[in-house]
């Protein structure tokens, strides 16, 4: 179980992000603090355009915050890099590389020994069910398969933190359900530390230990909701989980908060 006083694995502390000049530009995120403990799965939900993706981009180090800081184990996180792997909504696979080469890319960039590279690529291909697509190019794969490759590429890095920015937002409903269940299974087995952005309340309740609800733009933290951890109903498929009274209650509560923000916009 989590120690409430432990230093968070990842901490976004008092993040404010202006696009354009401060004061006259667009305020995307206003003084947001999010922390994720080691092994915790945290979802950020909010209405479209509320700045949740900006929070992710800043958290990954891909953009500088106007104010505030990003800490890993209590120390400044610095440039983006392999400690924080990112899965993007639009997959972001390298079109000129095969599936195996995509997964291997980050391992080559960080000088992982050659035989270890091969071992990890093979392992991820098996875990994500991609072995037969090893030598295919991304353009030859469906959206669901492409996102599997992107997840495999992120996990092969053995990151301390996994950042996922609406990873299933571009997928059809059936594929999304299957991938949600796989991510649920994986994170339960492997105890990944995950910060996950989504606009789907159901996805947030099913996957996460804690849900952070953001307000409409400029994004502020509206409320944090602790969900039951390590309960049996979460480990099954999402259909079954959605019938559990605890799931229904959490979904109702979070949806009410999100709805308030959408209606007030």
């Amino acid at each position: 179980m989590l120690e409430p006083s432990a230093t968070p694995k990842l901490e976004l502390r008092n993040i404010t992000k202006w696009y354009g000049p401060e004061g006259t530009g667009v305020l995307a995120v206003d003084d947001c603090s999010v922390s994720v403990q080691k092994g915790e799965f945290v979802c950020v939900v909010g209405p479209s355009g509320c700045g949740k993706s900006t929070l992710m981009t800043v958290g990954a180090g891909l953009e500088e915050a106007t104010h505030g800081e990003i800490l890993i184990d209590g120390k400044p996180a610095g440039k983006p890099g392999p400690r924080r792997s990112v899965v993007f909504q639009k997959f972001a696979l390298f079109p000129s590389e095969t599936v195996a080469q995509n997964i291997k890319f980050g391992l080559q960039m960080t000088n992982v020994p050659r035989d270890e590279q091969e071992r990890r690529v093979q392992q991820q291909l098996e875990i994500m069910g991609l072995t037969q697509f090893r030598d295919s190019y991304p353009s030859q794969l469906s959206g669901g398969m492409q996102q599997r490759v992107a997840i495999a590429r992120a996990l092969a890095m053995q990151p301390e933190i996994l950042l996922m920015d609406e990873p299933f937002g571009a997928l059809d409903a059936q594929t999304r359900t299957i991938l949600q269940e796989e991510v649920q299974r994986l994170s339960h087995q492997m105890h990944y530390t995950v910060l996950f952005i989504t606009h789907s309340v159901e996805e947030a309740v099913y996957l996460s230990d804690r849900v952070i609800v953001m307000s409409r733009r400029p994004g502020r933290i509206k409320k944090e909701i602790q969900l039951p951890r390590d309960v049996a109903w979460k480990r099954g498929d999402i259909e079954q989980a959605a019938e559990h009274p605890e799931f229904i209650e959490a979904r109702r509560e979070i949806w009410a908060l999100v709805r308030e923000e959408i209606m007030a916009a």
């Binding site: 983006p80 993007f88 972001a92 980050g106 960039m109 295919s136 190019y137 469906s142």
Partner: protein, 263 residues
């Protein structure tokens, strides 16, 4: 119409070629409507081709003229690439380089390569370097424009992905940006080669001592229309061949750009 299978299209094209040649043979037959002075018959052209293949015409055999034209085209085209690609990539990658180079480049771009010939004659005379230079100018524009566009249109998300995977700026440029841009770059190389070829033939008409354009010009002065047609057909065929070679290069160098989704 759009549903004709590929194999059938090849057949249709082959049949059309036969028909066109037959029409050509019919109108140029002895006693036909077109005098051989204006257009030789296919038989005359083939015969002339055979003779020129073994016997020198104005200084060298046909193969010698072909070789002369091709070597100048390839030299000018390659030089265009050596200068154009790094410059185009740099212009897309570092805005400062673009500010420096783009104004001059925009000024030069609308000047047809052939308009460089008079100045080139003053600078270099009518030798090979002059022709290589004019071809270089013709090839440079598509090389540079396409590499700039290719690099500029790489999805910034791929660069973000590279950064989160620990790639340095140098690796991002070489492993992600340049590789992703490769299909557009090869398309630029193909346009550059086409431009280079047509420009060279035109340059040979004005200032040359060998080559297919030079052969055509001499044949025109002597009213050797059969030689003229041989030269023109070769110019056309070699142009097609060069274009096909560049298509092949895309298959070999950027196979991913041709692959389709399996479902």
């Amino acid at each position: 119409m759009r549903r004709i299978a590929n194999g059938n299209l090849v057949l249709v094209s082959a049949a059309a070629c036969v028909v066109w040649i037959a029409v050509w043979a019919w109108i140029t037959r002895s006693g036909g409507p077109v005098s051989s002075l204006f257009l030789p018959s296919p038989g005359d052209v083939v015969e002339r081709f055979g003779r020129m293949w073994v016997k020198p015409y104005i200084g060298s055999t046909l193969l010698g003229h072909v070789f002369s034209s091709l070597s100048i085209v390839l030299a000018g085209w390659a030089l265009g690439g050596i200068v154009g690609v790094p410059l185009g990539v740099a212009m897309a990658w570092w805005p400062r380089v673009k500010w420096l180079v783009f104004p001059i480049f925009q000024l030069i771009r609308p000047v047809p390569p052939l308009a460089w010939i008079p100045l080139t004659l003053v600078w270099m005379g009518i030798g090979e370097p002059a022709r290589i230079f004019v071809v270089f100018i013709a090839a440079l524009v598509p090389w540079l424009m396409n590499s700039m566009q290719a690099v500029g249109s790489v999805d910034p998300l791929l660069i973000d992905a590279g950064r989160t995977l620990g790639a340095s700026d140098g690796k991002i440029l070489t492993r992600i940006v340049c590789r992703t841009a490769l299909p557009t770059l090869i398309a630029g190389a193909r346009i550059a080669l086409g431009n280079a070829w047509t420009t060279l033939v035109a340059a040979e008409l004005l200032a040359a001592t060998a080559g297919l354009g030079y052969v055509a010009l001499n044949a025109s002065r002597m009213l050797d229309t059969d030689v003229l047609v041989v030269a023109m057909l070769l110019i056309g065929l070699l142009g097609v061949l060069l274009s096909l070679l560049m298509k092949l290069a895309t298959h070999v160098l950027a196979p991913w750009s041709l692959s389709q989704q399996k479902g």
